[in-house]
Amino acid sequence: MELRQEERDLYVAMYRRMVLIRAFEDKLYFLFLNTVMPGTMHQYNGQEAVAVGLCSALRQTDYITSTHRGHGHTLAKGADLNGAMAEMFAKDTGLCRGMGGSMHIADFRVGMLGANGIVGGGLPIAAGAALAAQMRGADQVAVAFMGEAAANEGSFHESLNVAAVWKLPVIFVVENNLYGYSVRFSDAFPTEHIATRACAYGIAGEIVDGQDLLAVYEASVKAVSRARAGGGPSLIECKTYRYKGHARFDPAAYRPKEEEEAWKNRDPIKLWAAKLVESGLASEEELKSIHAGVRKEVDAAVEFATKSPPPAPDLCLSLIFARTAEEAND
């Protein structure tokens, strides 16, 4: 696939987004090691091209649902950085006012309908958001991100099936990072690919190199246009790898070191940087300055978060139920 001169600004913006996600998570990891940050987290390092490639093909009014590994999707969809960082710190200024944390982060203002602690939990929710768009006659689409393990949940089958029957504008994106926590892909799947399951639902399926930003982006543009035009759902499988363990305390001793190294040699950010520089669309200096700018932004977000107050302990009690409009008028 060739880079196009007229898309330069988009390409650089995508680079910036990937760098932002990496910097955000590296900072989180550092803060966790220093026990500044509560809870646990699941890192996205190595998979950035998937979230950024996909979300760059979306509009702000489109919807996504995410997973327990959701920081990348959140920032790729354009969520507020300060609010995202403050949520990690469990602060009242967090996107979810400190009630959700890393695993349940959401920013509805940009169509980010939530990370999800339950594997496969977000799939039918994305399909439902797509149904709402279809019923309203809006041309919004929804994307359901999932790890490959979710493809073995019942919600995968039920969601893809009904989405196909109703031709819902939804794109199911499998990030196949080869491990469901510790279980290797080949021990959990009888076939080499997941995208081939698309045949079972009569929908388009595509296998994509998840380390190649442009490949993800182009596949996404195709699937999104199909969905907007009423052509129904798609299944995209991105072959990728998570650099870190499953969660914060997992050293991933179940993976061969050579395998990790091989994947890290195909780092999505480095690959994209090389492409931009080779094609003359960006200089190394320009890319370097992006890294510096992003680091500053992330540091500022940490400062915002640390200075923010925690939620009142009993805030949760006022958030169990939404106040119905008619009650609010009382």
Binding site: C96, H104, I118, P124, V162, F321
Partner: protein, 343 residues
């Protein structure tokens, strides 16, 4: 007047769909067939297949899509063919619908209703359960148990207009409808305490119990079919000079303890009757709360009358044996009256 719950619900669904274009229905066999209990009969013709959606046999998808549509601005009303089937979709109900509002810091609301028929009618273990206690136990859900056409209409309108997920559990014996396949087992012919629903629109707030019969000796809190059995024995016991005060809690969540406590303080005696199984059921919760807040007023140990702790058996004799009955309610009332009064 709408004489049956099935018709009252049907017309309320239609009214709410007329009133608000974001309301739509989805579920198994609700379109062409009109629902297993005919609650959605004719609505496909009235509103079209975009708003009355026959779904595949996929409970996770029915509930999950409802949640997604709800957070994206719609007001879905999902039907599960039997309440027992909700367990297929438990993650979506308990981990998703109930939690999103708080988990996302109030950014999202989930205005949706899950309607499902419950109660034992000779269908054995997997088509007979009363499931309200599972959902009373889940913060973030509202639970409604309509007992007659009047309540069903007003409560359903409130449930649909509510901005939270609501489990609306209907008792099969009280529908007063014929099933799509023929005559459904029904108790409506033998009951005189089912009030019809007026045709004009009205709402009944969620969280308000109803005093169905005033009395002075024993408070009986009873849900759905058990409410009607309790009202019937109240007539019989009145002839013996025993005066029952009968309360329909209507919504186990939110639970109106004020109405119940006021009555217990007056009578000093409490019997709670539900068709759910005994352990950790609705009755257990009411008794616990009364014990905590009104024990000084109690003249006798509170009694729970519920289904025995067993899967519902098929044999009619066995089903009768495990379910609450008028005799069991009367016996429980008498136990509260026999207990020595210690002042």
């Amino acid at each position: 007047m709408y004489e049956s719950i099935a018709v009252a619900l049907n017309r309320t669904l239609a009214d709410e769909m007329q009133r608000d274009s974001s309301v739509f229905l989805l579920g198994e066999d609700i379109g062409t067939l009109g629902g297993a209990y005919q609650v959605t009969r004719g609505l496909l013709q009235e509103f079209g297949s975009a708003r009355v959606r026959d779904t595949p046999c996929s409970e996770i998808a029915i509930i999950g899509l409802s949640i997604g549509a709800a957070v994206a601005g719609m007001r879905p009303v999902a039907e599960l063919q039997f309440a027992d089937f909700v367990f297929c979709a438990m993650d979506q109900v308990v981990n998703q619908a109930a939690k999103l509002h708080m988990m996302f810091g109030g950014q999202a609301s989930v205005p949706m209703v899950i309607r499902a028929p419950q109660g034992a009618t000779g269908r054995a273990a997997q088509h007979s359960q009363s499931v309200e206690a599972y959902f009373m136990h889940t913060p973030g859900l509202k639970v409604v148990l309509p007992s007659d056409p009047y309540n069903a209409r007003g409560l359903l309108a409130s449930a649909i207009r509510d901005d939270n997920p609501v489990l609306f559990l209907e008792h099969k014996l009280l529908y007063g409808s014929t099933s799509a396949g023929g005559k459904a087992k029904s108790a409506t012919g033998s009951l005189t305490t089912l009030r019809p629903a007026p045709e004009e629109e009205y709402t009944i707030p969620l969280g308000l119990a109803e005093l169905r019969r005033e009395g002075k000796d024993v408070t009986v809190v009873a849900t759905q079919y058990m409410l009607h059995l309790s009202l019937r024995i109240a007539d019989q016991l009145a002839e013996e000079g025993i005066s029952l005060e009968v309360i329909d809690p209507r919504t186990p969540a939110p639970l109106d303890m004020e109405t119940i406590s006021r009555s217990v303080v007056k009578t000093g005696r409490l019997v709670v009757v539900t068709e759910d199984v005994l352990t950790c059921g609705f009755a257990s919760e009411v008794v616990a709360r009364v014990a905590e807040s009104c024990h000084i007023s109690l003249k006798a140990p509170p009694q729970r009358v519920a289904t025995l702790d067993t899967p519902i058996p098929f044999a009619p004799e066995s089903e009768r044996f495990v379910l609450p009955s008028e005799d069991k309610i009367v016996a429980a009332v008498r136990r509260t009256l026999l207990a020595p009064v210690v002042v």
